[in-house]
């Protein structure tokens, strides 16, 4: 790409929609992270020039229609089975780039088995994991990652340990597995976090090209509609409440655990 491009009316072009995104308008709620994550993911596919070699797997959840926006070959998986579907694709087409795109319910509740075993096999895929601590699509029910005390439509008094257990830090669990090569946690609510996330996506596709194995990028996200907040309120609440439980940063790089990770906060109800 040339350093500066000039549009027909003489303005300098600073960003252009990549060919890897379709013309379809996003259906996501105002302030939702999905749009940014879609955009960054497809920008990287464009920049690496791998559109014709990339196959994605969409989950069940708010991003069930991801294939309406991502202009690459896609398969829609049953709820929780995206890692298995991605495994099937990758094992048949080992030289293609394969990613799955999953929410917290899909990846960490109903699909826990498929998630853990794909990681443990060192399946050479990229898993994009959107953690917004709630079930957005079905109307704001508790997710496995819902915080203690957090109110949802199925925890009207707030999540408590006795019946619902603890927020599931599955990314920490996956980082422990020898098959996992790169495990990292990001956000996309500020320009800086978006840049960091983009670097992680680029790095993951590079690892996949080198057949290094399983890469997981968790994106700690908001859900203004599900949390019943305005987008700015949701971002602030996310920083104050989600980040302490799901601290951002690398958990594992190049197959090596990152030391000096923030400890999980003590459980309180």
């Amino acid at each position: 790409m040339p350093e500066t491009m000039v549009s027909q009316n003489g303005f300098e072009v600073v960003w252009e929609k990549p060919e890897t995104l379709t013309e379809t308008k996003l259906h996501y709620c105002p302030g939702c992270s999905h749009g940014v994550v879609h955009k960054i993911l497809m920008e990287v596919v464009q920049e690496l020039n791998i559109q014709s070699d990339t196959i994605g797997v969409a989950p069940v959840g708010c991003s069930v229609f991801a294939y309406n926006y991502l202009n690459v070959d896609m398969q829609e998986a049953a709820h929780g089975r995206a890692a298995a579907v991605a495994t099937g694709i990758k094992r048949m087409l080992p030289d293609k780039y394969v990613f799955s795109y999953q929410g917290d319910g899909d990846l960490a509740a109903i699909g826990t088995g498929e998630t853990i075993h794909a990681a443990n096999r060192g399946e050479n895929i990229l898993v994009i994991f959107i953690n917004n601590a709630i079930y957005g699509m079905t109307g704001g029910q508790m997710a496995p990652t819902t915080l203690l005390g957090m109110k949802t439509s199925t925890t009207p008094e707030g999540r408590e340990v006795e019946t619902q257990g603890f927020p599931f830090r599955i990314t920490e669990l996956i980082a422990m597995l020898p098959g996992a090569h790169y495990v990292t946690r990001h956000a996309v609510h500020t320009p800086n976090t978006v840049r960091q996330f983009k670097k992680a996506v680029t790095k993951s596709f590079q690892y996949q090209k080198e057949k290094k194995g399983y890469c997981l990028i968790e994106i700690v996200s908001n859900c203004p509609s599900g949390w019943k907040m305005t987008p700015p309120e949701a971002n602030k609440w996310m920083e104050q409440n989600m980040f302490p439980v799901y601290p951002l940063g690398d958990l594992k790089v190049d197959g090596k655990l990152v030391e000096k990770r923030p400890a999980a906060p003590a459980a309180k109800n």
Partner: protein, 364 residues
Amino acid sequence: MSDTRLMKGNEALAEAVIRSGCQGYFGYPITPQSEILEYLADEGRKRGMVVMQVESELAAINMVYGAAGAGARVMTSSSSPGISLMQEGLSYIACAELPCLVVNVNRGGPGLGTIQPSQGDYFQSTKGGGHGDYHLIVLAPASVQEMADFVYDAFELADKYRNPVMILADGALGQMMEKVTFKQYDPKEHAVAKPWATTGKPTTRERNIVTSLHIQPEKMEAINQHLQGKYDRVRREEVRYQLISAEDAEILVVGYGLSARICHRAVELARHRGLPVGMMRPITLFPYPYDVLREMRKRLSGVLVVELNSGQMVEDVRLAIEGHVPVEFFGRMGGIIPSPEEVLEKITQMFDRVNVKQVEESHA
């Protein structure tokens, strides 16, 4: 050059899988079919197949979904409880129209049941099995030779109709050893183009999407109508069955798979006694050979259906006979295999009843 060997049914099937050009197998061990996975893990891998033992049948069937969606010739195999776990995936595969082979070496149920042979999965196999309106194409082998031969047929039917195909065997067919001859088969001659597959989008085409999600009711109804049209075509073009001594039969015995072997012997014994008995063996369970029964019902005195279950296929026989003649059922469950003599006794009893009825009618 013919290649004849003495093999277990499961092993013969697995050998045919390799020869058919199958590229990927995803499965989980369960008795009485684990030899399929074991044979492929050894021979299949050596001869270039991707063979994966994975964490569950759920994962296996969804790997089949992904791999079939990527355009590969792929399969899984299991036995009854494992096949139950795959029903979700089979429903998605049927709607997304992905060609694949699923082998069910049926054992006795319900629940964990028994590892002994059974035909208790007839309803699940032929009527859909999972949620929504769909059908698998179902082939029912009755010998080790057919365990091998039907593999090629299954993959070709799957490609022809873009539909999952099931080989429905049972524990005895999987475990018994018989002579089997492998035919010459060049997978390249049977390869079909799959322009719908997700193999990576070149600039020359729109992206391919493999999905079963169609939120608009009009679109989803159109998808359903398309599927039903396909099943109608399968019903017209793919029915297979075998008739034995049926030309002059007054009583027709109907059985498939293992029960057909028992019925065949019982029919031979009955013929030795001079009883006019024949049999019909459905080879395709979906599509079911209704028409041959409809044609024969006018000249029969009765039908005896023999199954290793509580009476499942008998419902399809009754749909075809429509009350024209009595349809009786004999079945054993829980892994018990009836002897030909038990079936012969049922045939003899049926003749007595039919004869009594004819005498009564002549006096009336």
